[in-house]
Symmetry: C2
Subunit: 408 residues, 2 copies
Amino acid sequence: MRNRIIVQKYGGTSIGDVEKLKLIAKKISETKEKGFYPVVVVSAMGKTTDELVSMSKEVTFLKKPPDLREKDILLSTGELVSSTLLAISIKSLDKKVISLSGSQAGIITDDIHGSARISDINTARIMNEIKNDNIIIIAGFQGINIDGDITTLGRGGSDTTAVAIAAALKAEFCEIYTDVEGIFTTDPRIVHNARKLDKINYEDMLEMAVLGAKMHPRSIELASIYNVPVYVAGTFSNKKGTLITKGDEMENNKTVTGIAIDKKVSKITIKKIKNLPGTAASILKPLSEKSISIDVIVQNTPYDGFIDFSFSLSEDDLDKAFDILMNESSLEFDEIIKGKGFAKISLVGTGMQNAPGYATDMFIALGKEKINIEMITTSEIRITCLINENHVNSAVKSLHSAFELDKE
Amino acid sequence: MRNRIIVQKYGGTSIGDVEKLKLIAKKISETKEKGFYPVVVVSAMGKTTDELVSMSKEVTFLKKPPDLREKDILLSTGELVSSTLLAISIKSLDKKVISLSGSQAGIITDDIHGSARISDINTARIMNEIKNDNIIIIAGFQGINIDGDITTLGRGGSDTTAVAIAAALKAEFCEIYTDVEGIFTTDPRIVHNARKLDKINYEDMLEMAVLGAKMHPRSIELASIYNVPVYVAGTFSNKKGTLITKGDEMENNKTVTGIAIDKKVSKITIKKIKNLPGTAASILKPLSEKSISIDVIVQNTPYDGFIDFSFSLSEDDLDKAFDILMNESSLEFDEIIKGKGFAKISLVGTGMQNAPGYATDMFIALGKEKINIEMITTSEIRITCLINENHVNSAVKSLHSAFELDKE
């Protein structure tokens, strides 16, 4: 399939100021000159969205949360500004170009303001502008619900817009330009011989999503469902980036793809709670009601009809979660222990599912470094250990070397 | 007619920061509590529009002017930000409120980007929101053309939006809140006993439009056509403002309403040009082709088949106009003289049309102050003199006193 449509997405730092925006304008023009049809998705410039969010809080009385419908229209202006400025810049290079808002680009969403999901894309306008030979600049992160109100897509919104547009247009590639040069075996700031991957499959990328590229799992999931080849590369770099694509079943010998790191993790342990049907639910329900997300959950083997129940969560939610559980009269337990300063370190690789022994090798490597493991959780393609945050660097280095990730 | 709909317009300085915006939110809520249906039109906050305009220039290559379609979408975001923030603020006071973009408010315009004219207003959505008991906040200065592209209305745009909405809704009043307290007999910074008018008719207001209130003539013209009562008052003042309304024919005794001042005027005189049919046109055509606006034109009585031809224009255009005329080979003349540092001072009053002698009294008053008159032009309700800018203050004071404008 060669329709020569390329979707490109530029993030906020790529267009953080006028000079960068003009560089992007040239880059897009060059893509057009090479005979492609660029359909570009942009985020808001620099810190615009953060500034708008804080303004929306400042104008309310009695510290009430801002109305979500109004806030969505407010936030959507950030991408309207960047998309029109980029179009103005490209136009001054004597190229045919048009900016489209999310609504004009036909992005239909549900009506969950602040975290809307794309339900459909009506590509008629985009296809028409491609026929008119226009470069198209689409305001990312936004859509319109069936009532005609503007919605925003929440975290990772512009990546999601780009992948969804690429899927709808059956584009050849969805190129994500960002401030890192691609997907690495692990964080290159920690492990200096971390290797940039030429290629990674959707499943591994989903697990690695917290790393450098910072692509939101949601956009990768969408790419996976619609089989959109995603190319992640540095905006102002000439180096080759990483292609995220369908895994090649015939070449399943590469087992560990990379090491994902997630810092600022905290932990709560409830000691000696009765092991009854529904115990876990009775612990987690009051938390989920207050929108607190729980991550790894570990429950030990019962002793005398009691269990210890531990889970990890974001440091930001720790105190709130602790207070909720302490005040939950329906729970009977010995004590609750809270702790912070942990990190999750994950061995990721689709290939691991068919090959045993990786967990063992991981624990051996960490043991050699005398690193205590607080919690363990595994999926078919991932082994995650919760460790003390202070040990992250030595842990990653030892694992990177033990699994020879610096080698092709 | 008592439909209790009140259109209120707040300018950029009225919502220049968060604290002011919150004061406005309270003011609007109070209007609602009094049993009115407030339909509010807002400008962009503070200097937002200027900042967006300069960004649009900075991103172009080779100093090309920004594409007008894109620039209009860009500029329209300023009013989207202020309207949604205001709605968020009002909502946090537990009032029902909704913001509408120009497009959602049904404002249809022609497709002259940057200076679009309103062609129609579809009030269905607004009326529906009024029925839902919502306070309505409309983004001023913008509309949508029949292709669905956002347009902006150019100078005085938000005033025009407010008056047009008031006309379409048959609102009881269109209230314009601004940084002055109303319409004065002349500039109170010059004449300390300048009097605030309780009432002024559309015709006089049109001529006075350059004064303090800075309402654009265009919005006053629209108010006049649709007979919309416009009330101009200070945003944060409790003092009574000025009502702009239809003149009362029966009370035509007040003759001079006020004195309008226009500074930064320059003058060009072409000496000894042949007096042929079309001479004036041949002078003005090359200027209008370059979008230079001419104001007062004076042509003296021919002598030996020649005339001297003078006109006033904005100081900003003086050098450009001079160069154009010097290089216009079709014109034959003795010399061109350019001069700046002039001001226009105008006696305004609908009543003057039926009463002779005002011009004479004006010239006598200026003569007493030994002020030379460079040019004179009159309409039925206005007498304008071009004088040296240095004499403006003494001229205005003497006229204000001669025509007893400080007295009711």
